[in-house]
């Protein structure tokens, strides 16, 4: 056996061993990292929830929980709907017309995730200059459509996926197929 042949045999073993070790090491990282993601029980507990809108009075905001997140359900009055609609959309920090934030035919219902898009605090209802929400942490203000109007938050309050089962019942956590 010549020395050149020996070299290539060694090189092959070296590279093959290194490659298997690298792939094995990377594969071992998968469970180590994945275990930190939400577990099966957390995901199961995050199933859609149904909310009966009947008892919510005009102008009232209720807070329900879906996936440990507070969801604001706002039964808007005529005045509050008009306020949300009569705004120059392009003047907003995160331009979005009110029509895109509610389901058509159900304009009186605003359903948003009640977490300030700045750093995750829960804004206070019916406070601030825009009749919507005011975040006590860093002073972000939202209007009656849950849109950011003032303060450090970069985005409007996020909309959860939800669907109207009837005029007085919604299911949060499942996007409407019709819409």
């Amino acid at each position: 056996m010549s020395s050149a042949e020996q070299h290539s045999r060694r090189d092959f073993l070296y590279i093959a061993t290194g490659a298997v070790a690298a792939v094995g090491g990377a594969a071992a990282l998968v469970p180590l990292i994945a275990q930190m993601n939400p577990d099966a029980s957390t995901i199961a507990a995050g199933a859609p929830v149904e909310v009966d809108l009947g008892p919510i009075a005009d102008g009232q905001i209720v807070k329900v929980f879906w996936r440990s997140k507070p969801i604001f359900i706002f039964h808007r009055t005529k005045k509050e709907i008009d306020e949300a609609k009569n705004v120059d959309v392009n003047s907003l920090p995160d331009p979005e017309p009110d029509a895109e934030r509610v389901k058509s035919g159900h304009e009186q219902w605003l359903v948003v995730i009640g977490i300030c898009t700045h750093l995750g605090c829960i804004p206070l209802a019916h406070q601030g200059e825009y009749d919507g929400w005011f975040c006590p942490c860093h002073g972000s203000q939202y209007d009656t459509s849950g849109r950011i109007r003032k303060g450090p938050a970069p985005k409007n309050l996020y909309l959860p996926p939800y669907t109207f089962l009837s005029d007085t019942k919604i299911r949060i956590g499942e996007a409407s197929r019709a819409a």
């Binding site: 990292i33 993601n37 577990d39 440990s68 507070p70 750093l119 995750g120 450090p152």
Partner: protein, 415 residues
């Protein structure tokens, strides 16, 4: 080692008289290691009391480890029981109130000593060649302390704990694209909850031992380069150093006692002064407190975060304000170490101290009006100090003549 080998070889070599130690030394030379590191190790003879905080920090790490391990024996890391288990430590466990107050105030004392230790290094140029790695290890220790302290605060599971966890983990949501995925991964759920508390407990227990490991590296790097000193020049002979024991051990020990008086005053007289009353309200995911204020030792960084109106840039500024410290050895272009011989640097340094304390004060104020403007001015100076002042001063500053030796700096021309 022979005296001419190196002045770092120490003042005496280890010659065990005890038979057992002689036997052990041939097999595991641990006696010699301890002797050369903590007895014969030469320290510059002109060290002042600002050099005692390394010892104080080691002591504080020990205090936090001992009280923390004991507290973990009585604590329950479960969302429905965590807060009550802390209250039971306070009311039911024998001396539990003392252990918890020592641990909680100990964190504050630990940070106080760390900040003094860092300002000392900045004033006397301890980060400069050949101590760059020593300095960077110190910055890593600061980062580990910040992470450990934050997670420990969350374990109490009061209102401030919960909302601090929410706000700080949400900082990562600023990362474009993958931010929300990372935050969900950190939480182990769709919000801060039981999985978050569990992993924070695990990591809060782990990180102090990581800190202890990095401290070993820090001390190792220190013993390779030797200590800096107020004159900022290297010792020129054995006559300019004294052995660590008894000189430094006694001086460190005296200052430790003084420091413990302050520590004890907090623990026994005003144990809740540095905390926030809202953290005695159990965590409530449905209600955010009227104001969220971090512990005092994070306030300067919090003020930097809030001074910038853009979310992503604010987060970048927050992390940069710590990371930039690691680059200090190269940002500072001056060859002279000690601020004693740098009249301009000395002024900029004290302005930096004022900016740091000012940011700490502003971090506790609501983010509005004059407070925002002041935060922006101090934040601008904080970064300008590193990015503009340090590089330029080295080129333009007229430094005072350096003494030729430590003896001359202590005794004047007589030496």
């Amino acid at each position: 080692m022979t005296p001419e080998g190196s002045i770092m070889s120490g003042h005496a070599t280890y010659q065990p008289r005890n038979k057992f130690m002689q036997w052990l030394e041939k097999r595991l030379p641990i006696g010699g290691l301890v002797y050369s590191s903590f007895v014969a190790y030469p320290t510059p003879r002109n060290l002042n009391y600002w050099w005692t905080f390394g010892g104080i920090l080691t002591f504080m790490l020990g205090v936090q480890l001992i009280t923390g391990i004991i507290l973990a024996m009585h604590y329950t890391p479960q969302v429905d029981m965590a807060f009550n288990s802390v209250e039971s430590i306070m009311r039911d466990v024998n001396y539990g109130w003392l252990l918890r107050y020592v641990h909680a105030n100990g964190a504050s004392m630990f940070f106080l000593a760390a900040y003094i230790h860092m300002f000392r290094g900045m004033y006397y140029g301890s980060y400069k060649e050949p101590r760059e790695v020593l300095w960077i290890l110190g910055v890593i220790l600061l980062l580990l302390m910040i992470a450990t302290g934050f997670m420990g605060y969350v374990l109490v599971w009061g209102q401030m704990s919960f909302w601090a966890a929410t706000v700080i983990t949400n900082l990562f949501s600023a990362i474009p694209g993958v931010g929300d995925t990372i935050v969900t991964w950190l939480w182990g759920g769709y919000a801060v909850g039981n999985p978050t508390l569990n992993r924070f407990f695990s990591l809060h227990y782990l990180l102090p031992f990581v800190i202890a490991g990095v401290v070993v590296l820090h001390v190792w790097a220190l013993h390779v380069a030797g200590q800096n000193n107020p004159a900022g020049i290297e010792p020129t002979s054995d006559k300019e150093t004294v052995p660590f024991t008894p000189y430094a051990t006694i001086k460190d020990g005296f200052m430790m006692v003084v420091f413990c008086i302050l520590f004890a005053w907090f623990v026994f007289y005003i144990p809740n002064f540095l905390g926030h009353a809202d953290n005695y309200i159990p965590a409530n995911p449905a209600v955010t407190p009227a104001e969220i204020v971090p512990e005092w030792y994070y306030l300067p960084f919090y003020a930097i975060l809030r001074s910038i109106p853009n979310k992503l840039l604010g987060v970048i500024a927050l992390f940069s304000s710590i990371a930039i410290l690691a680059f200090m050895p190269w940002l500072d272009t001056s060859k002279v170490r000690s601020a004693r011989y740098r009249p301009l640097y000395r002024q900029f340094f004290w302005l930096f101290v004022i900016a740091g304390i000012g940011l700490g004060w502003l971090g506790s104020k609501p983010p509005e009006g004059i407070y925002v403007i002041m935060s922006r001015i101090f934040t601008a100076y904080y970064f300008a100090f590193f990015l503009i002042v340090l590089p330029l001063l080295g080129l333009f500053e007229k430094t005072k003549p350096l003494p030729t030796s430590i003896s001359e700096s202590v005794l004047g021309a007589k030496a």
